[in-house]
Amino acid sequence: MTALALPTRKDEAWRYSDLEAVAAIWPTPAPTRIDVAEGDSVRHHLLQDAGDGAAAVHDYVITIADGARCDFHVLNIGGKLGRVTFTVTIGSNAHFELNGAIIGGGDQVLEIITSVTHAKPDSTSGQTIRSILGQRATGSYLGSINVARDAQRTDAFQSIKAMLLDRTATANAKPELEIFADDVKCAHGATVGELDKQALFYMASRGMDPATAKTLLLKAFVAGVFDDVADEAVKDGLEAAALARLEALV
């Protein structure tokens, strides 16, 4: 995704970004390429926890050959700007699965941008993103699914849910479907909500202090995102980092 010219707000993929932060690190590093060979199955993860005030941009270009599979888990929590993008091309009988969480506060701008192309018939993809945003943070998910003309029987879904802890926080969720085949299933759902006040009172009435109650509800909200990380050490690392970020927020 590296281009010579700085992006502007007119670029759809940069619409909600922090362009000033991007300018400071421009040009961004070259994208990481992942090529999954025919029949292979690979797992990747990214813990984006750049330091306060830093800008971090991670671009992935992923090609999944016929009969192959790629599972990606991402936790996006660090930096002034934390941006993770995926440009994915999926072959026949192949699968791409993205599970991600965004947890931010302060003035953070945290983004996950995906462009998934189903290039051939009988491929599937799933994207599940949970965002928790407090203070003046902005969390964005922009996800496009492109189904090529021959890519019949494509089955794709996006499930996007965001939780706002403060009135001043912002969540953007923008699914975008471009479909040129006629036998296709593309499901997408996006919700933005806040913590259930009834549940909070119920928990308080049982003696739970507000911070514990909020943390428990938020843990339940992001639960599942890292459930199927195969490597236990990686899973523990992601879950611990998510919990630490949550506890700092509430």
Partner: protein, 252 residues
């Protein structure tokens, strides 16, 4: 244990309680009955500290402390338990997790040692057994997919585990069939019928009072206690109706 004096409150600017006074001593079980819209649930929620239930006058003193000076979770730590007419569902949080965090929050607030996993499970098993609730139910998310009766039984298991000094039970009998009513009734007796504890039962019907025998019965109408008596008052109300016992103008 609890002294309520001339309590008035408002919900969204509308006055509900209009000078309610009531004293509950340790070892006593009180029942509050009353027509729909009298303010029974409002009383329970106001004592529990539900947001938007604004106290506009009067006082409530619990074990010598000003109840309205405490946040809802502090009231619970001080020994108050509120049984909900409609227990809230919390997807993704198991009953065991919910109760362990609640109990340990209370214990931290009181400067007591927290229970570890093993100690807590032992306690939960004992209390679930008392109410005939399968431990498997406690592994499921709080109230999610529970029937009306299961929710009320789970509430009583919560009460058993948290071991409060005063339980305010808001229509705990609603939605229960006869068998469940018996189980819940004997659960209340086993957990709360003790010299150092007290119960305030809010109910529409006499039938719960067959199982949990009250020492005092009060009638709440139009935001005030308008009549108090012994257990015979509940029977009289059941037989004659509120209008007959209180006079039509009081009920209206």
């Amino acid at each position: 244990m609890l002294t309520i004096d001339n309590l008035t409150n408002e919900i969204d600017g509308k006055a509900i309680l209009k000078g309610l006074s009531l004293t509950i001593n340790a070892g006593e079980i009180h029942a509050i009955m009353g027509p729909n819209g009298a303010g029974k649930s409002t009383l329970a929620y106001t004592l529990g500290g539900r947001p938007n239930y604004e106290v506009t006058g009067g006082s409530a003193t619990f074990e010598g402390a000003d109840l309205f000076d405490m946040d809802p979770h502090e009231r619970a730590a001080a020994g108050l338990f509120l049984g909900f007419q409609y227990p809230v569902e919390i997807p993704g949080v198991s009953n065991l997790q919910f109760l362990r965090e609640s109990l340990n929050s209370q214990r931290r607030a009181r400067g007591e040692k927290e229970l570890n996993g093993g100690e807590f499970i032992k306690l939960a098993k004992e209390k679930a057994g008392l109410l005939g609730l399968d431990m498997e139910m406690l592994k499921r998310p709080v109230n999610v997919g529970f029937s009306g009766g299961e929710k009320k039984r789970a509430e009583m298991v919560q009460m058993g585990i948290l071991d409060p000094k005063l339980a305010i039970l808001d229509e705990t009998d609603s939605g229960l069939d006869i068998d469940a009513l018996k189980i819940v009734g004997s659960g209340i007796n086993a957990i709360m019928r003790k010299p150092d504890k007290a119960v305030l039962l809010i109910t529409h019907y006499q039938r719960l009072l067959d199982y949990v025998k009250p020492d005092f019965v009060h009638v709440l109408a139009a935001g005030r206690i308008v009549k108090s008596g012994g257990p015979e008052l509940a029977l009289e109300l059941e037989r004659e109706g509120y209008a007959e016992v209180l006079g039509a103008e009081v009920v209206a």
